[in-house]
């Protein structure tokens, strides 16, 4: 579904180096790594906000590297949700549908379906500035998925939540993914979150991917000392099964 091949990108002093991975249709793919390692830049490059210095991005074998963001059909949820403050909740959610010139009746139907699914019908006429963190998160999700994107990109969407809310959120996210089956790339620094949600994980550090695999593969066969330390092993002989 998504192929990222040899992406290099320099932003100021930071550099993404030879980023290569593939994500299958409907897969939940997690990019895991500490803060400042370039995870958000990868998502923004896939979304088309940045052009790679070299390398290519393919969706369904079509090279989209030079396609503008508005034509890629990719949903994006940022860590701080970034709802439009000048629009109500309803207007935020249908913002993308208006760009597609969907007729009013269909728009209302889709809005009703999504808002019911995410339990935000009661918020539709509210000002976004009056929403709690959890409510903003659900509205941001609704806005991203309402246009039925081919790929959903999630940028540390649970990092601001308290542990209990995080747990509920992760459970809801997993259910939502099962229901919608949207190809999802989720970035996080939380290994437990990756373990719970991911079909496969890519571990990153300093702009490079160190290892890609299922949670079991990474847990049992960490390929580097960094990967081993990051998932919580401390000193361990690299490559050995635990």
């Amino acid at each position: 579904m998504l192929k990222v091949e040899h992406i290099n990108k320099k932003l100021g002093e930071f550099k993404l180096k030879d980023i290569t991975f593939q994500v299958k249709e409907g897969e939940y793919f997690v990019i895991l790594g500490p803060t400042g390692t370039g995870k958000t830049i990868i998502l923004e490059t896939i979304a088309g906000i940045y052009s790679p210095d070299s390398g290519s991005i393919y969706i369904n074998n079509i090279n989209i590297s030079k396609v503008p963001p508005e034509c890629r059909n990719i949903g994006f949820v940022y860590q701080d949700y970034l709802l439009f403050p000048h629009l109500s909740v309803r207007e935020n959610i249908v913002f993308g549908l208006k760009a597609k010139k969907i007729n009013r009746y269909s728009m209302e139907q889709i809005l009703h379906e999504i808002s019911t699914m995410l339990n935000i019908e009661h918020l539709l006429n509210r000002n976004t500035l009056t929403l709690s963190g959890g409510e903003q998160q659900r509205v941001a999700f609704a806005r991203a998925i309402v246009t039925s994107p081919k790929i959903l990109l999630l940028d540390e969407v649970s990092s601001a939540l308290d542990p209990r809310t995080k747990e509920i959120f992760q459970h809801n996210l997993k259910s939502l993914h099962k229901k919608l089956k949207t190809t999802t790339i989720h970035i996080t620094h939380d290994f437990n979150e990756a373990l719970y949600l991911a079909d496969r994980i890519a571990v990153m550090r300093n702009g490079e991917i160190h290892q890609i695999g299922t949670a079991k593969e990474i847990f049992n066969h960490p390929k580097s000392e960094f990967v081993a330390n990051f998932i919580g092993y401390g000193k361990l002989k690299i490559g050995n099964e635990v």
Binding site: I49, F76, F84, F95, A99
Partner: protein, 268 residues
């Protein structure tokens, strides 16, 4: 404890003295104009010359502000969002009219539009600014656009660019994103920029005097009317023009302060 309070009080009194002196200075100055000019204000307002000056001032200030806005919005957005070679130099050039004395700017504009080549171009376009109303608008545009660009640049820089990124991922082009997200979020900055530019245009005189002249009943704005009537010994008319200008500026100031408070209330 007693010593600390005494020092605090002394510090506050020290600061207040400067405030009191300056506020008193302003109030006395305005009262001097109002005191002398108010008794004959109504009679002067009925005068055709003053009415012409009021109409021309409103017209030129409004037109120049609109033209400033048309240029300032794209320029300030470009400076806020994009990095390009020579950006610092271009920004410095844009701010130059602020640092050049207005009267020097006026002479420079007069020389530019007095050249044969420029004369031919502007005559063909029907926009000859020398000793005309169009010259007043051009002078205001030259002097005030840098102010508006500075205000709008800060406004656009304050808008999180990631909001624009999100709009792009939701299907809007850069044009659509600008009109649906950036401009609405820049509303308060735009209004502030418009009010400040309009107020500046009301009182701008030096540059307009050089380019458009101060011709009675032709290029006679309220500042030009003050100059002409004072030079001609007609104090009543000069004071009437001054009072009207002061009143317009004070109204603009109150609107600006009110909008500033609304903005704070809406963002809390």
């Amino acid at each position: 404890m007693f010593n600390k309070n005494y020092k605090d009080t002394l510090f506050k009194i020290f600061i207040s003295i400067f405030g009191i002196i300056f506020v008193t200075f302003i109030v006395l100055t305005i009262c001097a104009v109002m005191g002398k000019g108010l008794p004959s204000l109504m009679e002067s307002i009925m005068d055709k010359e003053i009415q012409f000056a009021i109409r021309l001032t409103l017209y030129t200030s409004t037109m120049s502000t609109i033209i400033c806005l048309i240029f300032s919005v794209p320029i300030s957005y470009g400076l806020a969002r994009y990095n390009f070679w020579g950006k610092k130099i271009i920004n410095s050039i844009i701010q130059m009219p602020n640092s050049i004395p207005p009267i020097a700017s006026g002479i420079a504009l007069l020389l530019l539009f007095s050249t044969k080549q420029m004369e031919n171009i502007v005559s063909k376009l029907g926009v000859d600014p020398v000793f005309s109303v169009k010259g007043i608008i051009l002078a205001h545009f030259f002097i005030n656009t840098p102010y508006m660009i500075r205000i709008l640049r800060i406004t656009f820089e304050d808008i999180n660019p990631k909001l624009e990124f999100v709009a792009r991922t939701l299907g809007y082009s850069s044009w659509g994103t600008f009109f649906k997200v950036t401009l609405p979020l820049a509303r308060n900055g735009l209004i502030s920029g418009i009010i400040i530019t309009w107020t500046n245009a009301l009182g701008e005189f030096g540059t307009a005097l050089m380019l458009a002249g101060a011709i009675r009943m032709k290029t006679e704005t309220l500042p030009a009317s003050i100059f002409l009537n004072l030079s001609g010994g007609n104090l009543d008319k000069a004071l009437a023009a001054a009072i009207i200008l002061i009143a317009m500026s004070i109204i603009c100031l109150f609107i600006f302060e009110y909008l500033g408070k609304e903005n704070i209330r809406n963002t809390k």
